[in-house]
């Protein structure tokens, strides 16, 4: 699927370094080198972002990684637009190294694909790189034709002269760069929105054909000559290690090559996965039973967090503040408060963790195939595990079978397993986690307890808002290095609690950083997956307390946010909110980062079973400029489905440090027969793109809880809304 340009077996970068032919290279801010020689068959490398070959093929670097979100297609489209390229001429080159020239500006230059940031972060730099390259091509054509550059124009992949004659980009590249200057990236002309041919149009995704024919290659599919397979028996509790291993029976299983002791587990390496799995079940391992994590019990954890959220003296870090929330609430006509709870949740991406490693015979280098959300931290993992320098790491970033935050960690244990296993047997090794491994050794969305308090004026308006979130730091666990620099601000734990789409005069959100009692990771929507549940369920309760319609109550708060107002009114119109009668509708207004979403859920409650069925979901979204409209719909819809799934069923329980769930039969995710009809409106606005991968998720749970109140008069304040909880609430 991913093509790295290859010229006679020499990689593009290698070829450029040989400089046989015309090559000119731009650095980040301008020209760093202009070289030319006699041969005209070399690519024109106008900037590190792209190269154009004389045969007309345009190769554009994809700096992120693909997990289903579609930026593998979208990011190169942004550059191709300003280059005025014919999209069919474009090849996409996956970035397979921790090359910080392509770093994500929103993560301090780390190669990190997360937080719905890819389009937002790369929109400007990739547009400008495309525009610079187009300008260079115009200069070559002007020189060649003896006309002023300004008299030329472009159509996809061709420059057109005033007399109508045409020169393709490929032809121009072959003519050499003599006399050409590269325009300053900051000052280069960009297209007006009305001139777009690619952005905002519906070009098919590049990966869809491969993904409809079984041809897309994921890490779990990588096959190398002489490759062995490994499976790992892991310590059942975090922090424990094997103290004695009886592997006699395991070693006797035909095909077993080796049994490798890992810091937190035992790997079986075999000629086939079948042998490895069979041998694993024969292993007898005694684990150290002294880890502090043995004390982790999710029910106790949530109880402790709730106590902390309720404790007025709990130590806290202020996450967001405006005016004086506490004073406003104290002085308000009426005050109201509620507690909301949410359990651990698991990513449940369908491709479990898998990686292939081939460690060099001298142990001083390795090639690795893995699907991760970060070239940077995967590179680091390989360096740290083998104690080797960065230049000896050869990475292949594979398309991922979903991730949703699963493959973001600073230290990647499945990559480590593959490296250590390969080193032990001196062969390439593929490590595959079974689904049970992936669940039991998952990294979870943290459990959280949230206390909200607010004041109301005599005429039913909001007068002070205080949102306290008792949950651990996620960053502190999955990326301690980042935590050292951002502490105590944890955007992963807290996002959404800033309620920034509302203009609330006296506002405060606090993070009560509770002790961590599970392995944690970002999860689709990060903090907003639960903070928006609490905030928007509470908003509905406040409206009720104030005797106001939930829509009107919110509209008061978006007077300074006309775009927010627009989508709230839009979703009300789509769902027939004003004339809803006794339909079970619930409204929610949330979003992700700077992308806003208003949603209405219509549900049915089965009073006997406690099952909630979502029958219809309407969403209105404002995510700034939309690069790929069709993919945007698919992503928002997927985000809504994810939100329904987590709101209704998803829950991880931990007892004595062990995860109780095993597989999809006890960690249920939404199936086809649980999916409502979904209608989505996306606002057409003149504003920079701000991301669509997660915006669909945070609004959903509160919309369902609020719809539940509309039909039963009861409140759901503990997510997920499992049948037992629903029945409990209805009986109360």
């Amino acid at each position: 699927m991913t093509k790295a340009l290859d010229v006679h077996g020499i990689s593009r970068r290698g070829f450029v370094q040989m400089a046989s032919g015309l090559t000119f290279v731009l650095g980040v801010g301008g020209v760093t080198a202009v070289r030319a020689s006699a041969l005209n068959d070399a690519p024109l490398e106008v900037s590190h972002w792209l190269s154009i070959r004389p045969d007309g093929v345009i190769s554009i670097v994809f700096p992120a990684t693909e997990m289903g979100q579609g930026s593998y297609s979208t990011l190169p489209q942004i550059l191709a637009e300003e280059l005025d390229a014919n999209w069919d001429d474009v090849e996409i080159e996956q970035l397979n190294a921790d090359d910080r020239r392509f770093g994500n500006p929103l993560f301090g230059g780390v190669l990190y694909t997360a937080g719905s940031t890819a389009v937002q972060a790369f929109f400007e730099p990739m547009r400008r790189a495309g525009a610079q390259a187009r300008d260079v091509l115009l200069q070559v054509a002007a020189r060649e034709l003896g006309v002023a550059k300004e008299e030329l124009r472009t159509e996809p992949s061709v420059v057109i002269a005033p007399d109508g004659s045409r020169m393709s980009y490929g032809e121009l590249v072959a003519l050499g760069a003599d006399g050409v200057t590269v325009p300053d990236a900051e000052r280069v002309n960009l297209k007006d929105k009305s001139e777009f041919r690619i952005i905002g149009k519906d070009l098919p995704r590049r990966d869809v054909f491969a993904k409809s024919t079984g041809m897309a290659e994921y890490a779990i599919d990588v096959d190398l000559p002489n490759m062995a397979y490994a499976t790992v028996l892991r310590a059942p509790v975090e922090g424990e290690r094997p103290v004695s291993i009886n592997d006699a029976a395991a070693r006797a299983v035909p095909g077993v090559l080796d049994v490798v002791s890992l810091p937190d587990g035992v790997a079986i390496v075999a000629e086939s996965l079948w042998s490895a799995l069979g041998a694993r079940s024969e292993l007898e391992v005694e684990w150290s039973e002294d880890a502090p994590a043995r004390q982790f019990n999710s029910e106790d954890t949530l109880r402790q967090y709730a106590q902390a959220a309720d404790d007025p003296d709990a130590e806290h870090a202020v996450w967001a503040e405006k005016g004086d929330a506490r004073a406003a609430i104290a002085a308000a006509d009426r005050t109201y408060g509620q507690m909301y709870l949410s359990d651990y949740a698991y990513h449940a991406q369908i491709e479990p963790m898998a990686a292939v490693a081939s460690v060099d015979a001298d142990g001083q280098g390795a090639e690795v195939w893995a699907g991760t959300q970060t070239q940077s931290w995967t590179t680091r993992t390989v360096m740290d595990v083998l104690g080797i320098p960065e230049e000896n790491v050869r990475l292949n970033m594979m398309t991922m079978g979903g991730s949703f935050g699963r493959r973001t960690a600073f230290a990647q244990d499945y990559v480590r397993d593959a490296l250590l296993s390969s080193k032990a047997v001196g062969r390439p090794v593929k490590v595959i986690w079974t689904r049970e491994d992936d669940v039991k050794h998952g990294t979870f969305r943290p459990a959280a307890a949230q206390k909200l308090e607010a004041g109301l004026t005599a005429d039913g308006k909001l007068d002070g808002w205080h949102h306290k979130v008792a949950t651990p730091t996620v960053i502190g666990f999955f990326n301690p290095v980042r935590w050292a620099s951002v502490r105590p601000n944890d955007v992963i734990s807290m996002r959404g609690a800033e309620s920034k789409f509302y203009g609330i005069t006296d506002f405060r959100a606090d993070h009560i950083i509770t002790p961590r009692q599970a392995r944690l990771a970002p999860y689709r929507g990060i903090g907003a997956a639960y903070t928006s549940f609490a905030a928007e369920a509470f908003m509905d309760e406040l409206a009720e307390q104030a005797g106001r319609d939930p829509l009107d109550f919110r509209l008061d708060l978006v007077e300074d946010n006309p775009r927010g107002r627009h989508i709230l009114e839009k979703v009300a119109e789509m769902s027939g909110w004003r004339n809803r009668g006794d339909r079970a509708l619930g409204l929610s207004f949330a979003g992700y980062s700077s992308s806003m979403a208003a949603g209405v859920a219509e549900i049915e409650v089965d009073a006997d079973s406690g099952d909630i069925a979502v029958k219809h979901f309407w969403a209105a979204v404002d995510a700034g400029l939309i690069v790929s409209p069709d993919n945007t719909m698919n992503q928002i819809e997927g985000g809504i489905v994810f939100g329904i799934s987590m709101a209704l069923r998803e829950k991880i329980d931990i007892e004595n440090g062990e995860v109780l769930q095993n597989n999809y039969w006890d960690y249920e995710i939404a199936r086809a027969n649980q999916i409502p009809q979904i209608e989505i409106y996306v606002a057409d606005v003149d504003a920079p793109p701000v991301g669509i991968g997660e915006v669909g998720t945070p609004m959903v749970s509160a919309a369902i809880a609020n719809a539940f109140h509309a039909t039963t008069g009861r409140r759901l304040r503990h997510m997920p809304f499992t049948p037992d909880r629903v029945l409990g609430v209805m009986a109360s």
């Binding site: 369908i350 491709e351 994810f642 597989n663 979904i678």
Partner: protein
């Protein structure tokens, strides 16, 4: 030796007849389009056709298909031209894509049993397969589109 027909070709494999069919397909026959997701009949990523029926290949052993005809996504068409695959591309169904071989194989089995399914029948039949990316509504539309072409 277990003999069967795989994507139209007679094959024979010396693997243990107890070995999971999914692993034989992926690692011995080297057909990687069929995926592992759960090994527990819960996700359908491993769906193949055995004598025309959609089956979870993680729930079958090699010995179970002795003499049978097994079709994987690679055997559905050489070039993505099966109506279900064309509909998948037209509707731009896949996101991560990992579940989609299984979804397509299940959809193709549905349409060969029932060329004109109702929306309810489609939803019901497709509920055996999970899609964590949430492409279900597109799957339904793609099955309806393919039904018009079959």
């Amino acid at each position: 030796m277990t003999k069967f027909v795989l994507n139209g070709q007679p094959v024979e494999y010396a693997n243990s007849p107890d070995e999971m069919l999914l692993l034989v397909i992926r690692d011995t026959a080297d057909l990687k389009g069929t995926k592992y997701g759960c090994g527990a009949a819960m996700c359908g990523a491993c769906t193949v056709h055995v004598d025309g029926q959609a089956m979870f290949s993680c729930q079958m052993s090699l010995g179970d298909v002795e003499g049978a005809e097994v079709t994987t996504i690679e055997g559905l068409s050489d070039d993505g031209s099966h109506p279900v695959q064309k509909a998948w591309v037209a509707e731009q169904v896949p996101q991560c894509g990992y579940c989609q071989s299984g979804q397509i194989m299940r959809a193709a089995a549905l349409l060969s049993e029932n060329p004109d399914p109702s929306r309810e029948e489609i939803v019901d039949y497709m509920s055996a397969n999970l899609c964590r990316c949430g492409t279900y509504n597109r799957i339904f539309k793609a099955v309806e589109r393919a039904a018009k072409e079959v």
